[in-house]
Amino acid sequence: MADLTMRIWRGDQDGGELVDYEIESQEGEVVLDVIHRLQATQIPDLACRWNCKAGKCGSCSAEINGMPRLMCMTRMDQLPDGPITVTPMRAFPIIRDLVTDVSFNFEMAKRVPAFNPPPMPEGGYRMQQIDVERGQEFRKCIECFMCQNVCHVIRDHEENKANYAGPRFFIRYAELEMHPLDTNDRRELVREKMGLGLCNITKCCTEVCPEHIKITDNAIIPLKERAVDAHYDPVAWLGRKITRRTKRSAAEAAADRP
C-alpha cells in the first residue's frame, strides 16, 4: 500500500509544477532509490542526473525539502513525516525535471589562472609533508555544486553571476594561493574580478558540503585576509612602499620555494 508521497518538480524552460506521486516505502532506501523506483514504475520520463550512488561523483545534487543535498546520501528514514519535496538546484537554469545546466561553474573554472610552478630544478620539485597536507582538504571537493547553489549571492541575485566565482572556486583559489610552488598572485584578481567581497560569510556553503570541507573558515576567510594584506591594510601598504616591494614579488616567491 502506498504510504509515501513524493512531491517532485516536473518541468523545463517553458515552466513546470510540483506533482505528487504515491509510492510504497521500503526499508533502508535513500531518496535516489525512491526516484529510481518511480522512474521504473510510474514516470519513466522523469529526468534525473546520477552516477555513482556513493556520494562521490556529485551528480545527483537536488533540493530535498528545500535544502540542497545529494539524493544518494539522504536516507528516507531520516526525513520528517509528510510529503517529501524534491526540486532541482535553484541557482542554475532548468533543463528538465531535476536536471539543471551547471555550465556557470565550468565558465568560472576556466577563469582560474592555472598552477604556475617555477622552472623544474635539477632533481625535480620537492615539497615537505606539512605543505602537502595543507591543501588536501580542498581536493576532497566532488564538484556537486551544492555550495554554489546555496550561496545567496547568485541564488537570489542573478546579476552577480557574471562576477562571482562562488565557494567552489574560492577553495580552488585558496588551494593555489597556499601552494608553495605556485608563483602566481591571485589576490587582486579574486578581490576585484571574482567577487570575494560579495561573500558575507554566512557559511551556508560549509553547511551543505557533503565532503565537510570547511569552505568558509579554511578557504574564503583566509582569502579575505590575504586580500586585506594585498589591498586594504594601510600598514602593509606603507611597508610595501618603504621596501618598494610588489605585492608578491618574484624574489619573494623564489624565497618561499622549498
Binding site: G16, F92, I94, K110, N116, Q128, P180, N184
Partner: protein, 271 residues
C-alpha cells in the same frame, strides 16, 4: 598561465530556473536560530547601552577591588567618585568612561567573522537561513561603504588584545584587597573567568589565525609560525562558542560587580 594573461570570459547563463517561486521549501524549524540570535544580541545591546550611559555608579567594589569590565580602564573624572584610582589621562572627561572604552570591543565584535554571519543572517536577513530567500532585492555584499570597513577587523583585534591585558591586570589586582594580603572571592573568580574567555575569543579569531601563520605559503620555511598556526587552529574551530560565552560572561561580570557594589548580594570570600 600568468594572472595578467588570464582571460575573463563573459558569463551569459540566464534562463528559467526550476522549482516553485516561493521563499523556501524548507520544512524544518530554520527560524529558531535567527530568532535566538536576535533575542540574545538585542538583550546584550540593551543592557550594554544602559550600563554605558546610565550605570555610572556601583561599577566598582572597593573592598574587594572588583572593577566592571565595561569600565576598565577607568578613565575620566567619574572614577574618583567610585574610589577608583583615576588615570591621569582624560581627567577632563565628565561622562561615562564606558562610552570611550566600549568602542573597541564593540568594533572587534562588529567586524568579527562569526558575528558578521550572525547579524547578516538574523538582523539583515541576507539570508535569514540557508536556502531561504534573501530579504533584499539588490545585494553588494562587503564591496562598498560602510561594509567594506569590515576589512579592518585585524586592527580591532590588536586593540582587543590591549583590553585583554588590562582586564587580566584587573583580575590579578582583584586578589589583592585594600586591607592587605592576598585573598580570593567569587568575584575574583568571575573576573578571571571573564578575562580567560576574552583571551580565548581573541586568540581564536580568524585574523589572529591568519597573522600567526595562515598568510604564509610555505609552512616548512616558517616552522615557528606553523607552530603558532597549529596552536590557534583548534581554538579557531571553537570561535563561535567562545564568541557567545565571552559575550554572556562579560555582561554577567558587570551584573555581578554591580550587585556586590550596591550591597544586593555579598561577595563570598574563599580565603
Amino acid at each position: 598561465m600568468a594572472v595578467d594573461d588570464a582571460t575573463i570570459t563573459e558569463v551569459q547563463l540566464g534562463g528559467r530556473r526550476g522549482g516553485p517561486d516561493v521563499a523556501t521549501l524548507r520544512t524544518d524549524k530554520w527560524w529558531k536560530l535567527p530568532v535566538t540570535t536576535v533575542a540574545v544580541l538585542s538583550a546584550f545591546i540593551v543592557y550594554a547601552t544602559w550600563a554605558a550611559f546610565f550605570g555610572t555608579s556601583n561599577f566598582f567594589y572597593a573592598a574587594h577591588n572588583l572593577l566592571s569590565p565595561f569600565y576598565s580602564p577607568c578613565l575620566g573624572n567619574i572614577c574618583k567618585t567610585q574610589g577608583v584610582t583615576t588615570s591621569p589621562f582624560l581627567g577632563w572627561w565628565q561622562l561615562s568612561p564606558a562610552l570611550i572604552i566600549l568602542v573597541f570591543p564593540l568594533g572587534f565584535r562588529m567586524t568579527c567573522y562569526y558575528y558578521r554571519k550572525a547579524y547578516y543572517r538574523s538582523f539583515w536577513r541576507s539570508p535569514v537561513a540557508c536556502a531561504v530567500q534573501d530579504a533584499h532585492s539588490t545585494y553588494s555584499g562587503e564591496t562598498r561603504a560602510p561594509l567594506i570597513l569590515q576589512n579592518i577587523h585585524r586592527y580591532f583585534f590588536y586593540f582587543g588584545l590591549v583590553f585583554n591585558v588590562l582586564l587580566t591586570i584587573d583580575a590579578v589586582q582583584a586578589f589583592i584587597w585594600p586591607g592587605g594580603g592576598v585573598h580570593m572571592s567569587i568575584g575574583t573568580l568571575v573576573l578571571c573567568l571573564n578575562a580567560s574567555l576574552l583571551w580565548l575569543y581573541s586568540l581564536s579569531c580568524h585574523a589572529c589565525r591568519h597573522l600567526c601563520g595562515g598568510q604564509v605559503r610555505n609552512f616548512s620555511k616558517h616552522p615557528i609560525r606553523h607552530k603558532l598556526w597549529k596552536f590557534v587552529t583548534p581554538l579557531n574551530a571553537k570561535h563561535m562558542q567562545f564568541a557567545w560565552m565571552s559575550l554572556v560572561v562579560v555582561a554577567m561580570t558587570d551584573v555581578y560587580v554591580r550587585l556586590v557594589a550596591s550591597g544586593t548580594i555579598t561577595d563570598f570570600k574563599i580565603f
